[in-house]
Symmetry: C2
Subunit: 493 residues, 2 copies
């Protein structure tokens, strides 16, 4: 029996070539059992005419399918479904309804899911004024060179890097580059045994917390701070002690006594962008030494220093091995990459490596090697350079617009960054404000999630300029100012 | 001042094109401060002659460097280091020695690193007889189509999938494919809210353990079992209760009472390859319901069923939501991919999603989309088909060679797989045997790591045929037999 050309239809908007679409239709038909071994496919001419594509396209698709053993070619007589074609299993599959009798509430409850994350609409790019944070800007990212490096990392020479599992090991080429080129910029010297790749900074903070803390451990965090960190510590069951920050970041004297570890972002406090002066850094390390606690440094956004050169990392002042340094490529490349690193004493890294091996083994080899190429060819530094120039321009425009409309800046940082930390009038709930603004195409980040529960004021918000184009900024700020006036008016009324 | 062509040298064996190498040399020179803003580069002709490459290659490299703002072109007068070129920071960087005063032994000890992993030489491919397990075989893997799918996933249309962080979400295209095409082959029907992508099966087992168990929880595992699982449970501090297996896998009656969860590999027991018959599966689920414990099913190697069609998964018999199903692409694609998935009740997946978000956010978007394309184009099923045909041939050759040399098979499985579970004479320590054999170019896996500590016999070993070419098998087995005879002789002597 032969399969009629009419059994095939092109899907409008299919993401891929016509040849790929034809391959997919045939392969699926065979896998789903619609086309059976021995059945004859339409002639390439017949199918080409029916689909309105060139005959060569069909022939190429058929040839591909032959190499995948979906089809066999019988000389002049055409193409047939192969007798050894891939197939779905023979057993009957019926959907039987089932009711869940497990008491999940008792077993898990919401132990892990109760923590707030920053809400961001999936389709944020379709909004006119996206003041959202930390997403790659397609107009700035060096997509072409990224593709070339990725393609190179897919080459035969890198087959093992691509496919093998490393357990304990990381890509030596990337470790070497981090050690020789990235860490020296932070004033840090480290040996390979003191560096571990992680699934972004989030995973690095998680590994450090899991290793150093447990149920009831006392850990200090900055207030406000990165919400993802609070989620980690909450899940581990540590006692979280918030430490107030001012325009110079964390206050060493304010650190409570009897803690096991403190988490800090000295280069660029999240979310206020404050940079900790050298005096406070040494004071913090002295206390850490005296009271024997550890310091986890999230070296957040150090690359975005376009106003002043970045200060050396806290880790560079560490003479006792107390600082666990966290770096990331999420902001400088893109967050979907999920690549960061830990730098700390060998004894700590050894344990972090073992924990990482048990929880996920390692980050995909292909990602590691692609980044290694992107860095080594200088594309990375060129990108940082381009980002900084664009951010600098955007920041100036933001600054002007914010002042023009009399909005209040709560924190902007002296080095650069990619966002402003803003304060609305005390009575304003920026959570509600964000909802109003979203309807007008403006995306802002309510500040509540950054604060320790209970203490959380509702009138802060973050305005990032890492993903919004310069020319949209003034109008976006104007809309925010307008919405704030309306809220004010409503409250008076 | 101008930079002499002699400042540049080609590195022999550089992995990349000549143009890439020239770009890298110039970019590094600028980043390291050897070449300063305003300095003139050698003419393209001059550098081309010096390096012995075509002039166009140099010109292309220079053009790339201009677009990265490393260089500026001044009309006819040539190329200069750009005034705004990327640079390393200005601060002085001196390496000060430091001594680690932190008592790491007290803080962490070897809590995470004490667990045994299967040792495999990094350069295993350079061994003549690699009976090693679970690595991609370059002669079987469809590298070309993988590259094409990866390249497609690097396209502009997929920019957001590549770059964005999803927090809670996974690639809908991949989830859809798993739901519609993979799970039905296992007899499982699931909604998207019941599926979560993980960093391989290891990460799936880790998430399940972290959510369901804690310090002192009672968990049953098969004995022998996958060592990576024992490492997880050990780190969590759960009480691990080994359950003996026979030729039909786990014995439901042998499961101890009062457990909270049991981990099992019904499709293909690791490492014996036994497949659990339907009777035992239903008996296990009945006990789970009666005694209210959960079952984590590692649906290990179900794809490698070339002797009989794969039996439906345990999860397909689950009417109460007690089975947490773990799937992986590590064996069918390659382990370096780090991609697997969990299928379970929505309440469980919700928590697993939140825990994953806190520990690593999500698996890289590019990896997810590449696999989605590879699956949807039918390359995946074609690959499985090819693997199975090759494994079937290799297995026959293994079987013959093993019998010819009178080695003892302890477990081989009736469905297929990619390895034999072997038993050496009681007096043999296969750990030492492996060392002897390695010197002769033969790699085998000592069995000790698979057994519960204490109970561990030393005379088992695993011989995989997933990475060794068919024609090497007979000689490899002969060498093993010879080594075993020698060991025996030594013991007599």
């Amino acid at each position: 029996m032969s399969i009629p050309a009419e059994a095939f239809f092109l899907t409008p908007g299919f993401n891929g070539t016509l040849q790929q679409q034809i391959q997919q239709m045939v392969a699926e038909g065979i896998l789903r059992g619609r086309f059976r071994p021995g059945e004859k496919l339409p002639s390439s001419r017949g199918l080409a005419e029916h689909l309105g594509v060139s005959r060569i396209t069909v022939t190429l698709a058929y040839t591909e399918l032959v190499s995948g053993d979906y089809l066999t070619a019988r000389g002049r007589s055409g193409y047939y479904v192969s007798d050894t074609a891939p197939m779905q299993p023979g057993f009957e599959f019926e959907e039987r309804p089932h009711r869940d009798t497990v008491d999940w509430e008792r077993i898990v409850g919401r132990r892990f899911s109760r923590h707030e994350l920053i809400a961001r609409p999936v389709d944020w790019q379709s909004y006119a004024y996206p003041f959202i944070y930390g997403q790659a800007d397609a107009t700035l990212f060096d997509h072409q060179n990224w593709r070339q490096c990725a393609l190179r990392a897919l080459g035969k020479r890198d087959f093992e890097v691509l496919t093998a599992d490393f357990y304990e090991r990381d890509d030596p080429m990337l470790i070497e580059y981090i050690m020789r080129s990235i860490l020296p910029r932070r004033g840090i010297s480290a040996r390979p045994e003191e560096i571990l790749l992680t699934m972004g900074a989030q995973n690095a903070l998680w590994l450090a917390s899991e290793i150093l803390l447990g149920q009831g451990s006392r850990a200090a965090v900055e207030n406000p701070c990165y919400p993802g960190l609070r989620a980690i510590l909450g899940q581990i069951g540590a006692e979280v002690l918030p430490v107030e920050v001012d325009a110079d970041g964390l206050l060493p004297e304010a650190v409570p006594e009897g803690i096991e570890a403190i988490f800090t972002t000295p280069s660029h406090h999240c979310p206020t962008n404050a940079t900790m002066p050298i005096g406070r850094r040494t004071a913090l390390l002295e206390r850490a030494g005296r009271e024997d606690f550890l310091v986890i440094e999230d070296d957040y956004e150090f690359e975005m220093s376009f106003l002043k050169p970045a200060a050396p990392a806290l880790k560079s002042l560490d003479r006792e091995g107390r600082v666990i340094h966290v770096g990331s490529f999420s902001k400088s490349l893109f967050p979907g990459l999920r690549l960061g690193y830990l730098v700390a004493s060998e004894a700590f890294i050894r344990e972090a490596r073992a924990l990482r091996a048990a929880m996920l083994r390692h980050t995909p080899g292909h990602i590691q090697r692609t980044v290694a190429y992107f860095l080594s060819l200088g594309h990375y530094d060129a990108l940082i350079n381009r980002l900084n120039q664009a951010y600098k321009r955007r920041r100036t425009v933001m600054d002007e617009a914010i002042r023009t409309h009399g909005l209040e800046i709560a924190g902007q940082g002296a080095f650069g960054g990619s966002s402003f930390w803003m304060r609305a009038p005390a009575a304003v709930d920026t959570g509600l404000l964000a909802v109003d603004l979203r309807a007008k195409g403006v995306l802002i980040e309510p500040g509540r999630a950054f604060f320790a529960p209970g203490t959380a004021p509702r009138n802060y918000y973050r305005l990032a300029y890492s993903s919004i184009s310069q020319n949209r900024i003034p109008e976006g700020i104007a809309l925010i100012a307008e919405a704030l006036r309306e809220t004010g008016a409503n409250q008076v009324a």
